[in-house]
Amino acid sequence: MATEKGKLAIYWAASCGGCEISLLAINEKILEVDKAFDIVMWPCAADGKVHDIEKMADKSIDVCLFNGGIRTSEQEYMARLLRAKSKVLVAFGSCAGEGCIPGLGNVSNREEMFELNYLKCPGLDNPKGVVPQTETEVPEGKLHLPLFYDTLKTLDQTVEVDYFLPGCPPEADRIWDAIVAILEGKLPPAHSVIGENSTVCDSCKRVRSEKKIKSFKRTWQIIPDPEQCLLEQGLLCCGPATRAGCGALCPEVNSPCIGCYGPTDGVHDFGARLMSAVASVIDSQDPDEIRRIIEEGIPDPIGTFYRFSLAKSLLRRSRQNGHHATPATQEATL
């Protein structure tokens, strides 16, 4: 790839655009990306329409950075298309890699979301009960919308993914590291994460001693000491289970790590890993007391342990019973 310009595609599915902003935060280095690659598709910035990609030969795109999860028929189509056309497909950011916050939608389903959004939420004026349709007859013709799925899937639950770049969003420096690795051909084994394999705790400057907790605190309940480990102060910091790469930025501003970089290598379920880390710091042998500490301090296990990774987790989604989803909070217990 050194002598000839490669082809690069950047695409977004069910995502927020933050990955793209972070990519641009590499600032002047974006010019080096431009030097090395022809950008064949990047909907938020430039060049390339779907049918241009459709016309390309398979494997003719060198690298595709794909951010966003798969929530609609259109996104699934794009994932399959870009997989076929790309030599290297990178799940870029938390959404593509583990579902991220939109993956929490898997506690619900399409029917519930539509009902709330279009029929029940405050301030609606919808006496006829109109709900968006995949096909609508308007006076002038037919309009189409993509099908909205019950379940958000990660990119690798939809197509084969070659590499993962974690983070919500991946920090600009880590994106640059990955680009350099791609340019120099120094990539890790297929299907692995491009990044560090230590935890956020390893890069956190806070002072740690023995962790023994009698109660968990919610962030609004205490003003934590600025030097001491946040977990030791009872805040549920995800640092022990979360992959490094950000430089422990959140603890730096006195906020617990929320786990956006996902698990370290070899961990299949981020939530399970975090639960075991958390369980080990509870200062009690009494089952009743342990239960009380957990129930009082961690009122939302799903949102706490699977904030970014529900779609990728062993739980994946709440059970679908006919059309009615069981609230997922009832399924996850410590």
Binding site: S15, C44, A46, G105, R218, P299
Partner: protein, 493 residues
């Protein structure tokens, strides 16, 4: 008119608002525009899945609605939490939030002017598409401008990280204040960059004066009827009815510029309702007391705009001296208040950029800004609350209710661009009608349609465009059987 004979023009994708957008334009038998639709093909369901989560998660969860303006969601969520937990942040906490927000605003508006909206004017709406981008701006205005714009954005993002934890998706605001204050050393850095930002904003207005206002063709374009919609306007004002981005009362003015309503954010449901169409996943907010009359403007239609221009129309002026001067000059030039010319939104955005930079310096030099009391702990049982800020792309409302443990039982969000869903549809249709006659689609249409909705900066304003600079557009003209008759492209490969 039988639907069978209608021709259709599709613009797809037009990049994103919570995903992607798609425009369908229908032509009648004579080849004139019958109607146009802007469809939003995605929903992410935050209102549903946030229920059951602890309320304090919201500044972080809702930031993920938009990675372009996560700061706006972070702030609106924090304010909603203040209300839910019945806690009033100490002055330092509030000022830090507004400082952070002013830096974000200046950074975000810079991106829009130089990368998205500005090139149409600075380089010219008739310039070849390949030049109508940031690189074209650099060529026309001078090489050092790229460095200035890059520096402005980089400084802004660095300060956002310094104060809020991260460049994208901060983790900082809490009910009752913020998680960490700033040191004197940091304050000095923030002040120094703020003073540069004021100069940068003045410089940007100079460019606009010289290149846009100095050219009668451009002034005529701004005043062109194809870009006029006489709607209601909405914006947030302080105690003196001057514009504020972070806090104040919500003010609505009618198409004649008279105050129609002024309310506290918590009463938004008395004033704003949402209409649903089956052909878009995005709802259509409108003024409840006027009513939904369809995609039409005028005093009898509840359609309102929530843009930089709307905010200036809804306010009596700007709260900082330099911005106030520019505010007066804009209305003098365009014939008094209110201004309904959609393209004047670009000018209004620059005035807001100057205001944001001036406010940034004011707050950075406030004696309380380095105070140690930036947070108070809530003591009352959480219940329900509304938080509102002016997002760059329109007023942003977060409304939560919780149980007594602070677990969310209801979430309602009306986000920036959503406010403008109806007016953007109208603007696209009007521009299309003005341009497409007898089935003839010209390349000019592409940019004219683009300009109609680009003025709203509808959240595809991702900081992106330092390289190619311009949104790609493709218009496909099909016959009733769906076969492609003609395909026009710009800025593609």
């Amino acid at each position: 008119m039988s639907t069978k004979t209608m021709k259709r023009i599709s613009i797809d994708p037009i990049t994103r608002l919570e995903g992607h957008g798609k425009i369908d334009i229908f032509l009648d038998e004579a080849g004139d525009v019958a109607n146009a639709y802007l469809q939003i093909p995605e929903l992410r369901g935050f209102e549903r899945f946030c229920v059951g989560r602890p309320a304090e998660e919201m500044p972080n969860l809702t930031a993920r609605i938009c990675g372009v303006c996560p700061e706006a969601h972070h702030m609106a969520a924090a304010k909603a939490l203040d209300a839910v937990f019945h806690v009033d942040p100490p002055p330092t906490g509030k000022k830090l939030r507004e400082l952070f927000y002013s830096i974000f605003y200046a950074t975000d508006h810079t991106t829009h002017f130089y990368a998205l909206g500005g090139p149409d004017f600075v380089v010219g709406p008739d310039a070849p598409p390949a030049e109508r981008n940031i690189l074209g701006v650099v060529k026309k205005v001078g090489m050092d401008i790229a460095g200035k714009v890059l520096k402005m954005r980089k400084d802004g993002h660095n300060l956002i990280q310094m104060i809020g934890g991260r460049r994208v998706h901060p983790n900082w605001a809490l009910p009752g204040g913020v998680s960490r204050g700033i040191t004197e050393e940091q304050r000095k850095e923030i002040e120094a960059r703020g003073r540069e930002a004021v100069e940068f904003a003045k410089f940007s207005i100079e460019i606009f004066n010289k290149i846009v206002l100095g050219n009668p063709d451009y002034v005529n374009l701004i005043k062109n009827d194809a870009y006029v919609h006489k709607t209601y306007n909405i914006g947030t004002v302080d105690a003196n009815n001057k514009l504020n981005f972070y806090d104040g009362m919500v003010r609505v003015t009618d198409p004649d510029g008279k105050e129609f309503a002024k309310y506290h954010a918590r009463d938004y449901r008395e004033h704003i309702a949402e209409h649903v169409e089956p052909w878009s996943y995005l709802k259509f907010p409108y003024l409840k007391k006027v009513g939904w009359k369809g995609f039409v403007d005028g005093k009898d239609s509840g359609v309102y705009k929530a843009t930089p221009l709307s905010r200036l129309n809804a306010a009596d002026g700007m709260a900082t001296p330099l911005a106030q001067k520019e505010y007066e000059r804009m209305y003098d030039t365009l014939g008094g208040k209110p201004v309904h010319h959609t393209l004047a939104t670009h000018w209004a955005r620059l005035i807001e950029l100057l205001f944001a930079a001036e406010r940034w310096v004011e707050l950075a030099t406030d004696p309380e800004i380095t105070g140690k009391e930036y947070r108070v702990l809530p003591t009352q049982t959480p219940t329900e609350g509304v938080g509102c800020v002016e997002a760059p792309r329109g007023i942003l409302t977060h409304h939560y209710a919780t149980d007594e443990r602070g677990i969310l039982t209801m979430v309602n969000l009306i986000v920036g661009t959503t406010n403008n869903n109806a007016p953007i549809n109208m603007s696209v249709a009007k521009a299309a009608k003005g341009l497409i006659k007898k089935g003839k689609v010209t390349e000019g249409l592409l940019n004219m349609v683009e300009m109609a909705f680009r003025a709203y900066d509808p959240c595809f304003g991702c900081a992106t465009h330092f390289l190619p600079g311009q949104m790609p557009l493709e218009v496909t003209l099909r016959n009733p059987q769906g076969e492609v008759i003609e395909r026009l492209r710009q800025n593609l490969g």
